[in-house]
């Protein structure tokens, strides 16, 4: 069963054009001109229950707009939506009982009152029975180690403490689908790891479907089996993280440091029967890129052990997801290298 189904979803914002200068401002007063800006442009995907899916893209790619449509905050301009059996914006009050939402940039808690009072209020709002609430709260408080924070007012918490409380607030009613919009933004590495672990456990234990947006690809690597990449309101990649890596990863990079000068042509000659490309800053330093269908050891065997080459250091590095994604963002499309239908 699919937890989230999206078909040809679009959201177009009308943005007022401001004309320049005082004259322009006066003109704007009487006749306004609008630009139509598609924030989300005809996207389709579906997420089966129990999956953790990462939703990534540059700033302004339309991630938050999608999340806001999926949670019922915004009404789509066109397209079909089904989340947990509901059309979010149509049956909003019934629908939101099944979902949990965390916006990393914005607090869901009441600023002035103690954390535990916020939770109590949320219990009433969601109509969670006293027994269930206690059990759930105990479990979450223990898991996220919140014990002594509960009596403090939200405004006195650090960001990491607040974010853990936000998670509890979003999960008190045991939702089956959870939306996280940049849940790890601005957090230190320890809290980040803690939150990732927690989300993974929750997914395993309750089969919670999770859709998260993030700029930290380590979130994705740690959590997601699948990633949807967005650019200018369109989906440019939808599939496994591994596929993304094998297809767009440029393979392995070997960096050599030489004791004595070793010019580039000589290295190229040594590996002439392998399809690798060399680059060098100077004669003492060279890099070779080995694509993923070749063996690193084959290349090494050609270079290492040549009597006239003295090597002082070798470094082998894999292209990271960060590099892959940066490259895709820069070219604006994953299509360039695409060969099969997984790329949209």
């Amino acid at each position: 069963m699919n937890a989230i189904e999206v078909e040809h979803l679009s959201k177009i914002f009308k943005v007022q054009k401001s004309r320049a200068g005082l004259k322009g401002a006066l003109q704007d007063l009487f006749s306004r001109q609008y630009n139509e800006v598609p924030a989300v442009n005809d996207i389709s995907f579906s997420i089966p229950s129990g999956e953790i899916c990462g939703y990534i893209g540059e700033n302004g790619a339309g991630k938050s707009t999608t999340i806001k449509m999926l949670t019922g905050i915004l009404v789509p301009t066109s397209g079909k939506l089904n989340v947990g059996g509901y059309v979010p914006h149509e049956e909003r009050e019934k629908f939101v009982r099944n979902i949990g939402v965390v916006f990393g940039q914005r607090s869901q808690l009441w600023w002035d009152i103690g954390v535990i009072e916020s939770f109590g209020l949320l219990r009433k709002v969601y109509g969670v029975p006293e027994q269930d609430y206690k059990r759930r709260l105990d479990e979450l408080v223990q898991r996220l180690d919140l014990g002594d924070l509960l009596s403090r007012p939200v405004r006195k918490l650090s960001l990491g403490q607040r974010m853990r409380c936000e998670l509890v607030a979003a999960l008190l009613h045991n939702p089956s689908i959870v939306f996280l919009d940049e849940p790890t933004i601005g957090l230190d590495i320890i809290v980040k790891t803690e939150i990732r672990e927690f989300l993974k456990d929750m997914n395993r234990q309750y089969g919670t479907t999770i859709l998260l947006t993030t700029h930290d690809l380590q979130d994705i690597e740690a959590l997601c089996s699948r990633v949807i990449m967005l650019d200018e309101g369109r989906i440019i990649y939808d599939g496994g993280l591994d596929t993304l890596k094998t297809r767009w990863g440029q393979g392995t990079r070997i960096t050599f440091q030489f004791g004595t000068a070793c010019p580039l042509p000589k290295l190229q000659a040594l590996t002439s029967d392998l399809a690798v490309s060399w680059t060098a800053d100077n004669d003492l330093h060279a890099e070779v890129l080995v694509s993923s269908d070749l063996n690193v050891s084959d290349v090494l065997a050609k270079v290492v052990g040549q009597p006239e080459i003295t090597i002082t250091d070798i470094k082998i590095t894999e292209t990271t997801t960060d590099e892959i994604v940066r490259q895709i963002y820069q070219t604006g499309s994953a299509q360039n290298n695409a060969s099969d239908g997984q790329v949209v």
């Binding site: 914002f13 938050s64 949670t71 019922g72 009982r97 009433k124």
Partner: protein, 261 residues
């Protein structure tokens, strides 16, 4: 039941936060009362120069003012939309409201609940009793349920007008210049509408019906037969304007664009 439970819960939290800022609480109560007092003094000044205003005596006008204070107090307590545009649209707190399983407007009312307003209602009752006994008004049993019905109706009319106008903020980021204007017009409804010219009478009766928040319903208890038919219209107007308010609100929410990222 669910919504009544929520009201109680939010009130509890209001008390918890407010008791930590007790000075604030009293400043608010006192400034509210001073504002009402200044309005009353204005009435006294007017009647210092004349014995009747469009055929209404001083005690009668004060009685109307007393009645007006009841729905006004209820309105300030439960329908506080003053900073809606800033807080919920510009800062985007509407996002949070919309992801909770209670009617969004109701949640906003609850988050901005302002119980000191109710003190104004109480004082309104006292003023009505004082001026009523001065006038020698006869109290009949059915006055009580009707008084409650009219007070609630008047509050709904008030709420309907303000909700409809506040819902404009879903379309534009800075529309609320109209609210202070309205705040001034609402004062007109406390005086006998017959003293105004036809246009203003029509405006206060049918377009922005503030006359139904003061003079019309109060006339029933004063025995001013010429306005009885208008007095009984109060609940009808309440239904109409509450419907207009809620409808325009619900349409507005659909246009909500969210803020920032």
């Amino acid at each position: 039941m669910y919504y009544i439970g929520l009201v109680i819960e939010y009130l509890k939290n209001y008390l918890k936060t407010r008791l930590t800022y007790r000075a604030d609480f009293w400043v608010e109560v006192i400034s509210d009362l001073l504002m009402q007092a200044s309005n009353l003094i204005f009435i006294f000044v007017v009647f210092g120069h004349t014995n009747s205003l469009g055929g209404w005596s001083e005690a009668e006008v004060i009685f109307v003012y007393g009645f007006f204070m009841i729905p006004f107090g209820l309105f300030t307590c439960f329908v506080n939309l003053w900073n809606f545009s800033d807080r919920y649209i510009v800062k985007g707190e509407m996002d949070r409201i919309l992801t909770r399983p209670a009617y969004n407007l109701f949640q906003i009312f609850l988050e901005n609940i302002d119980p000191p307003g109710l003190i104004g209602s109480l004082i309104g009752v006292v003023i009505m009793i004082a001026s009523g006994s001065q006038l020698g008004l006869e109290l009949v049993w059915w006055h009580f349920p009707i008084m409650i019905l009219f007070a609630i109706s008047a509050t709904l009319i008030y709420a309907g007008i303000y909700i409809a106008l506040t819902s404009l903020s879903f379309y534009s980021d800075s529309p609320t210049g109209i609210l202070p204007l309205l705040y001034n017009i609402q004062n007109y409804g406390r005086y006998p509408v017959t003293i105004y010219n036809r246009t203003i009478q029509f405006l206060l009766t049918w377009i922005i019906p503030f006359a139904f928040v003061g003079i019309y319903p109060a006339s029933l208890f004063l025995g001013r037969t010429e306005m009885f038919h208008m007095a009984w219209l109060t609940p009808v107007m309440a239904i109409i304007f509450a419907t207009i308010g809620l409808t325009s609100w619900n349409i507005g929410v659909k246009k909500y664009r969210g803020a920032g990222s």
